[in-house]
Symmetry: C2
């Protein structure tokens, strides 16, 4: 087991913490036997739960703390007052090199604020972005930013694009991902100025991608591109709109199957196929939003995730570590420095 690695877990984040965190870690071990865990939270509460988790109990070290960041804490308050919280200590463990990544289902704003402060952004990146993947007609795509940055300029969008394509290449294994900027039309003159400038830069930059130019909202689920880049406001609205639409469709479908005896018979026969469909679109499979752009791996699980969902969020962190996401991003930004205007002396004069 040469590739052992350690993930830090905030045991107290999420609606059903710490149960789903411990069960999720236990589940994740069956897919990633090479992982050890640091578990941050109140030892008296955690120890008996860990004891019951067959695979996990020998692979985890509990680091005791009683302090928890509440779900409704403001990020600024959490930064000031929660230095001994399970969330903060888990992030610190990454910064101190005790873990390669941190996973939390806690307060998103607090997690982002703490992760930015403690881990800091990678060279060449002004602001981290939230990135996640989701199902499409063609397979799966990744989108960023999903809500970390309400306003984004062309530099931000360009940097998100670089990070997004590295994520797609390293974690999803695509050799040359296609990438598009989310806009209200495909034509060059459409949308905000920041989008038009970022588009020109992406055309000029020498990235290992197929740059698709602008895409529209319907291209997200169609899977027109592998990587979708947008500002955090638009990305957040688009993601939640898609989630809401899936819910509308699922509930309407359920109602249709219960609307008549014949339909119920139909449901009986179609059930295995429908179960497969539900599995494919299961949001738990796509749980795990990544904070890209930090000196360390930080993954946010949905607050309402169950153990399977939390295990998937752990899986994203492990995949990033195993496939060298951080090193690849660092290398790409070193190569790109001149076009970013960061201009290390050596790179400017050939």
């Amino acid at each position: 087991m040469g590739d052992r690695l350690t993930i830090a877990l905030d045991a107290m984040g999420g609606d059903d913490a710490p149960g789903i965190v411990i069960d999720g870690a236990n589940l994740a071990l069956s897919r990633f036997p090479q992982v050890d865990f640091l578990l941050f939270g109140p030892e008296p509460q955690l120890a008996p739960l860990v004891e019951r988790a067959a695979r996990l109990k020998d692979r985890v070290r509990i680091v005791h703390t009683d302090m928890v960041v509440s779900a409704d804490a403001k990020p600024s308050a959490a930064l000031r007052n929660s230095r001994q919280s399970s969330m903060r200590l888990a992030i610190n463990a990454v910064q101190e090199g005790q873990a390669v990544g941190v996973v939390s289902a806690g307060n998103t704003g607090a997690l982002m604020a703490m992760a930015k402060l403690v881990l800091r952004t990678l060279p060449g990146i002004d602001r981290p972005a939230i990135c996640s993947f989701f199902p499409t007609l063609r397979g799966e795509s990744v989108m960023l930013d999903l809500g970390a940055n309400i306003d984004c300029d062309a530099d931000n969008l360009f940097q998100f694009a670089v990070m997004g394509q590295v994520f797609s290449r390293t974690v999803l294994g695509l050799a040359r991902p296609s990438l598009g900027l989310l806009n209200v039309g495909a034509e060059d003159q459409k949308g905000h100025e920041a989008l038009r400038i970022a588009s020109q830069r992406l055309r000029d930059a020498d990235l290992p991608i197929e740059f698709h130019g602008f895409i529209e909202g319907n291209d997200i689920a169609t899977g027109t591109v592998d990587v979708i880049v947008t500002d955090g406001f638009t990305g957040n609205v688009a993601l939640k709109t898609a989630e809401g639409t899936v819910k509308l469709f699922t509930q309407s479908l359920r109602a249709a199957f219960h609307s008549s005896p014949l339909a119920s018979i139909g449901y009986f026969f179609a059930r295995p196929a429908l179960r497969k469909l539900r599995r494919r679109l299961d949001p738990r499979r796509y749980n795990g939003a990544v904070f890209l752009g930090l000196n360390g791996i930080a993954v946010k699980s949905h607050g309402g995730a169950d153990a399977l969902g939390f295990a998937n969020a752990i899986g994203v962190a492990v995949d990033m570590a195993l496939h060298g996401f951080l090193d690849t991003v660092r290398e790409e930004f070193e190569t790109l420095h001149p076009s970013l205007g960061l201009a290390p002396a050596a790179a400017v004069a050939p």
Copy 2:
């Protein structure tokens, strides 16, 4: 038939024009027998089609023109060069009082530019918005702006809200619609400044609505509010994202039903119920995007609409005319003038 009214139709807009325009008008007559049509386009092409449309032939007057605005014409070019086009003449008919509204399935940008120039905005409204309704878990809601204005300030959003609630009250018949501003979180401090200012103004204004504050993307399909207000960039992305998601779901469902013999049997039994579901979510039912804020009714049909879709777009225009949308908007803005800062002398000093 005291309530007769005339609708102007751009016979040449849309992928399948003029066929779907004429068939759509013929269909619309069965729901609205009190409507007459002015049909703008090349008489030699239109006359034989009209002749075959049983109901329509005695209820339409063809106004001949050979000029058509192409689907890819830039709005500015269409404004300059297409003054004799079927689209422009149909809009002119509204301005001249020959018709109460215009319906076109043609080039959206050109239609908006021409409608703004010819009809002008209502007093108190700086910019028109595109508004449409769509299915939700609770029934149907309306959303605006869907793409007319890429950047919106607090004034624009406030004005959209006023227009949207009048639309909901007059066309959908809601006594006191609920209304929300689309944002990335429900908390007061979330999102762009324009949203926060608009929210405060809506709280202070005396409108016949339940103001719900901020809503999120998932609230759109849930039907949390009757009227959703957003800028044109976000609204356009959200609408198209929802459309794409429905397509993903529909196609995945179809694939699931064809994935095994058992599933096909299930489909056979469930078919009537599924057909009902498909009808409920049928985009043709929700065809007809309204340009709100102009001195006249202008409805844009989807370019790919069929006759049924086009008939529904006509229905929206007729409903707006029958229920006095324009008069109600004018009255509301007269009442609101002081808080809008337009300040007619009489309204300022009580």
